[in-house]
């Protein structure tokens, strides 16, 4: 199918507009679509980068004192705006600084927030400890819900011990 406008290039953008139940369809090539977009004032085309930033969770007021301050990675200096433009994080620490706000994005893209695949040899011990802590935390949550306070206290102590070991091993990771 050729572009309706220039009748030269193959149409690759299929634009459908529905206004008051009146459907109008246009088949345009990429170049004409870009121009049409400007003419219609549709704003910039959505691309993967914009989508990613749009999938991030809302800013929680308490997290950012003053309300207006945007998130920024202290390690590499990447700001939320930069992430919005490029769809790329700047360094491993960004995953910590943007932490909670990336969770909805992971859920949308991957349907999961938890890695279950390969673990590098040197991270293996730490990884297992973190798994154990998370498992105990879930159990603790359960115990509190069921008002099993004795069990909850035990679990809390166990978690504390493991976390101390993790602290010595160099942090919890993200």
């Amino acid at each position: 199918m050729l572009c309706e406008r220039c009748k030269q290039h193959p149409a690759s953008v299929h634009y459908t507009e529905v206004i008051n139940n009146q459907k109008r369809q246009m088949n345009l090539c990429e170049a004409c679509a870009r121009e049409a977009q400007k003419a219609f004032g549709l704003g910039p085309a959505l691309n993967l980068q914009n989508f990613l930033a749009g999938l991030m969770g809302p800013v929680i007021a308490a997290e950012t004192p003053g309300g207006k301050q945007r998130l920024k990675c202290e390690s590499c200096g990447l700001t939320e705006e930069m992430f919005g433009e490029q769809g790329l994080l700047g360094c491993a620490d960004c995953y910590r600084y943007f932490g909670d706000r990336l969770q909805p994005l992971f859920r949308r893209i991957h349907g999961s927030v938890r890695h279950t695949g390969k673990v590098p040899q040197r991270s293996r011990k730490n990884y297992l400890l973190v798994q154990e802590v998370d498992r105990l935390r879930a159990e603790l949550h359960d115990a509190v819900e069921k008002e099993e306070f004795e069990r909850a206290a035990e679990l809390r102590d166990e978690i504390r011990k493991l976390e101390e070991r993790l602290g010595r091993r160099g942090g919890m990771g993200t």
Partner: protein, 362 residues
């Protein structure tokens, strides 16, 4: 073959047709995204840091176990290759177009590693510090994944990869986080396209967590009827699950394509024989060929070979011609820039030469 030779030869071992399911599956690929802990990701790093990453990888390649497994491989900087040589590697699907075009990191700080059999390649400072890729002919996803995993395992002995205990390997783009694994197959689906069924099938496939792309260009009418299927999700599934899922869906698509071919043969034997023989005739005798026409005709001929309608031709030869008919190769062989008419003429000449002596004795 060393990297410097690989840029001259249009053939790459993934084109070998002595592999499973090559009537439909052209190649299988596994790619692992990895980053070094304590360095910003490539787009956010200084040239000095980029250089340190290149050094670290070069060092890791010298690990005796790595070289025992993959041979003495050298790291070549992109700056050491001529532009046309870089594009040759793109056309051979050994590196990504983005690796050549992205300018944020200078070509002197981008490294490339290629094993002698061209099965393993590593891009250094692409979107991530390392992109470990393995490429096999036909449907061999498990083998491809195993090779990439092995290379990763040997490299991590020297390199400290950025890894989170909860979300796995950390990558520049959050769409790759977790396993960092992108497994993909390149499929030739001409019969499904001809019967108008490809769109439905590929739409169904995207609901199963896979992504479909036309090989060249984004249009629904993929040039050469080539489609790439890959996993969308990298987090929350194990590497084995990702590979198995893609493989089982691929097998179903293969069955669909084969059924469609049988149907073509049964319902319109003359039409289909005419189409593939005509394509062969034009390729064999034309004096001018556009790139698009060549792609289309090569696809028809490949279909004819797959259906047993054309004899004396191999899928390997056709894959090689797919590279040879690209403008990059034409410029490479002639050693200078060519005008479009010159390209059309040289393209036809190369195809005629390659098909000389091939008799369609069907």
């Amino acid at each position: 073959m060393s990297l410097k030779e690989a840029v001259h030869n249009p053939y790459s071992p993934w084109m070998d047709h002595a592999a499973p399911e090559t009537d439909v599956v052209i190649s299988s690929r596994a790619r692992l995204a990895r980053n070094l802990a304590n360095f910003s990701f490539p787009h956010q790093m200084s040239p000095e840091a980029a250089e340190q990453v290149v050094h670290a990888v070069a060092l890791a390649l010298r690990d005796p176990e790595f070289s025992a497994r993959f041979g003495e491989v050298e790291l070549v900087r992109l700056a050491e290759l001529a532009p046309v040589e870089r594009w040759m590697l793109v056309e051979k699907h050994l590196i990504s177009p983005g690796f050549v075009t992205a300018e944020r990191t200078g070509h002197q700080h981008k490294g490339l590693v290629l094993s002698a059999d061209e099965r393993l390649s590593i891009m250094v400072n692409e979107e991530d510090h390392l992109r470990i890729q393995s490429l096999y002919p036909g449907l061999q996803l498990a083998a491809a994944a195993r090779l990439a995993d092995e290379a990763d395992g040997l490299l991590e002995k020297t390199l400290d990869f950025a890894f989170s205990d909860r979300i796995g390997y950390l990558t520049a783009c959050p769409t790759n986080v977790g396993t960092g694994l992108r497994a993909s197959v390149m499929l030739h689906l001409p019969a499904l396209v001809l019967l108008g069924r490809v769109k439905d099938i590929l739409t169904a496939v995207t609901r199963l967590g896979l992504t479909v792309r036309g090989l060249f260009g984004e249009g629904t009418e993929s040039a050469g009827h080539l489609f790439q299927l890959s996993n969308q999700v990298t987090l929350g599934h194990s590497e084995a699950d990702i590979v198995n899922n893609l493989e089982s869906i691929t097998r179903q698509v293969i069955d669909q394509e084969r059924t469609a071919r049988e149907q073509l043969q049964k319902q319109m034997p003359v039409v289909i024989r005419d189409r593939v023989s005509r394509a062969f005739g034009i390729l064999r005798h034309a004096y001018v060929l556009s790139s698009e026409e060549a792609m289309r005709l090569l696809s028809d001929v490949r279909l004819g070979v797959g259906m047993g309608l054309l004899k004396g031709l191999t899928p390997r030869l056709l894959s090689e011609l797919m590279v040879k008919t690209r403008s990059t190769y034409l410029v490479k062989t002639s050693g200078r820039q060519l005008s479009p008419p010159e390209r059309g003429e040289l393209r036809a000449t190369l195809v005629r030469q390659a098909l000389q002596g091939v008799k369609n004795n069907s």
